[in-house]
């Protein structure tokens, strides 16, 4: 680790006053607290305090049967409402050794990529709003509606699509619905260049985002950033490419970095916009590939729910599931025990967790006016990420070191295992 340590100090300045931002602030869509050390308008230090929206979802999930928990997994995040179930089903299938038919894998991929389109457009709109560019916000969100409409037509819901189930999917994409999808994809293909023009060729957007919120290649690698945040720094890291799953293995994919746009990666907010907009184009291609090559066959390997529950109850073992969510890698770990309906362990690592510490190099050296856009640049999702809440040590604010946390979690594991 030492050879990878990175410099997170800003030289030549002293903090004169500190300004708190959050947990409630118009720039933040979800509660988190930043304590900024400022030298004039320049940020010379930042402390991040998450933990305002811990919901105990893992605990709840370990007290329900697996199908009930699937619904819960879907509700970890409102935007990544397919990414968490995708990772979760893969983890359980991995643990229980359930096969997924090819058609189901393709349908999962299609919904997952549609989610990427709407999530990236949502992010672009929020980014524009943080810059004070509300026109772009309204236009982008209007465009986003097409993806939401298509998702509703394919799955019945705008969010929480309820598509994956252990061993397959719950709804088919029949042939007669394919034209709807093609129409939406054509719509986005036509508009993508307009969106790229609106964001990347706009002088005022460039003035506000170029060289702002920089995370260098080395910092991104050392801090284990994930998703578009790390790809904007030029790190070619993408679960879909590195460890292909679902339908991704069948296609020729590459991790999108600013190099695809023809610029050298800097890792600033502008590069984040480039990567996310280009990924919308990539998602369109992936969906088209999946629609064209949609294999015939079963939707799920165990169609009857009681049979599925029985099979899961018999299963035992560990499983992991990873999915490249729009925000980055989402990781689920599951341990099943024989003759127990509930999971023994469920561990969720949302992408924001990986990107959280990347905020520190991004904020340092920026100005107060950059706080909203830099905070938004990693596309944070606090309530998906909050997984720890200290309930003892009442009243006193306490910070636990890594060693203490390891000790505490070992104690907890021993307690669970009895």
């Amino acid at each position: 680790m030492n050879n990878r340590s990175i410099d997170l100090e800003v030289g030549g300045s002293t903090a004169c006053y500190s300004v708190p931002v959050g947990p409630v602030h118009p720039a933040l869509k979800e509660p988190i607290r930043f304590q900024f050390e400022l030298d004039g308008e320049r940020i010379v230090g930042v402390d991040i305090k998450p933990g305002f929206v811990h919901r105990g979802i893992e605990y709840m999930g370990m007290r329900r049967n697996l199908i009930q928990t699937l619904y819960l997994a879907e509700r970890i995040c409102g935007i990544c409402s397919i990414s968490h179930p995708l990772a979760f089903t893969q983890a359980v299938e991995n643990a229980a050794g359930i096969e997924v038919p090819p058609r189901a894998q393709y349908i999962r991929t299609i919904i997952g990529e549609l989610e990427r389109i709407h999530s990236h457009l949502l992010w672009a709109g929020i980014g524009a709003h943080e810059l004070g560019f509300d026109t772009l916000l309204h236009l982008v969100w209007k465009v986003r509606e097409k993806a939401m409409d298509l998702l509703e037509q394919l799955t019945g819901n705008r969010v929480d699509y309820a598509i994956p189930i252990f061993g397959g999917v719950r709804r088919d994409i029949p042939k007669e619905k394919a034209p709807l999808a093609y129409e939406a994809l054509d719509y986005y293909k036509r508009l993508l260049q307009d969106l790229i023009d609106a964001f990347l060729h706009d002088k005022s957007v460039e003035m506000r985002t170029r060289n702002i919120g920089v995370m260098t290649y080395d910092q991104a690698v050392a801090l284990c950033a994930v998703g578009p945040t790390t790809r904007a720094s030029g790190v070619k890291k993408d679960v879909r490419v590195d460890m292909p799953y679902l339908a991704y293995a069948d296609m020729d994919l590459h991790a999108i970095t600013p190099e695809d746009y023809g610029t050298e990666p800097i890792g600033d907010v502008f590069d984040n916009i480039i990567v996310r907009l280009l990924e919308v184009g990539q998602a369109i291609e992936i969906i088209e590939f999946c629609l064209e090559n949609l294999p015939e066959g079963e939707l799920t390997s165990i169609p009857k729910v009681p049979a599925l529950l029985a099979a899961l109850k018999k299963a035992s073992g560990e499983g992991i599931g990873r999915h490249e969510a729009p925000r980055g890698e989402v990781f689920h770990y599951v341990r099943l025990e024989e003759d127990v309906e509930e999971m023994a362990v469920w561990k969720v690592r949302a992408p924001t967790y990986g990107n959280l510490i990347g905020w520190v190099p991004k904020f340092l050296g920026d100005e107060v006016a950059d706080i909203p856009i830099v905070a938004a640049s990693i596309d944070p999702c606090m309530c998906c990420m909050d997984r720890v809440h200290l309930v003892d040590g009442v009243g006193a604010e306490s910070v636990k070191t890594k060693t203490e946390l390891v000790r505490l979690s070992r104690e907890k594991t021993r307690r669970i295992c009895g």
Partner: protein, 331 residues
Amino acid sequence: MSATIVHAVWQGIVILFGGALLGMVYKGFDRKLAAQMQGRIGPPLRQPFYDVVKLMVKENVVPDHAVGWLYNLMPLLSLAAVGTLLFYLPLGGFKPLLGGYGDLILILYLLAVPSLAMVVGGFAAGSPFATVGAQREMVMMMAYEFPLAITFLSIAWRLSVVLPGQPIFSLTTLAANPLWGLVGPIGFIGLLLLFLSLFIVTPAELAKIPFDIPEAETEIAGGLLAEYSGRNLAMFYLGDAIKMVAMASLMVALFFPYGLANLFHVTGAWGGLIDVAFFLVKVFVVIFVAVITVRVGFARLKVGQVTRLFWLPVTGVSLLGMLLLALDRFV
């Protein structure tokens, strides 16, 4: 004598209410048109009236840390300043009510008062967001006041050369003698440059995007206005609406004072009516081009970027305009 005073008071009340009414109507258009351009439906045109009425009946909260009297005084001062401003502007074909008692320099000061009132109010509010907003507003004022002053003074000076002996700093004289026809080609280019710099200063003076830095909702939660509520906020809101009209009328008076009545040889009441209607259209066009389209088309800039923009290019353009006007005199 007393009849004149009664007449003046009566006129003053009409101008004040008319200005406020006009400001809110234009604000309604501003919101509706901006919404349409952004692909939204937008509020009804009378929304600003609803807003002011609602704010007037809402509780007027004074934060614990605020300097109470200063905090409450500033909205009033802001409204009073823009109200006074209305008395100095030639609205339509009418002579300004107080035209004989002040000049362009006074107008410059009156334009600065609402911003200063917001700065003092922001500091008096005792909130960190308001303080940051107040600091930003001060920096902004330092940035845009210089090109604004250059524009005003150059035009007045050039006119004094053309019309010696006239009260050249009076806006009435300026409006009655549009410079465009009185200068040569070099002066014409100079005037164009001055117009350009005033055009860029207008959204900054009115604190609209891309220069809404002191309020910056996503950054400092409304900044200067973060703590204001109820009646105080309504007064700032009204002041902002009137200032928009005042700034646009000023631009009209300096650069497009032409009337239609003479063109169509209409005199009397009908002529006045045509001129007033044409004036309202001109003000609308200025607001539409200089405020609405600009605020729809840009992202918010940072205070450092704005300062650089105004100190170097905009001041440069206005100085060049002044230089060309001066050259024009000697050619």
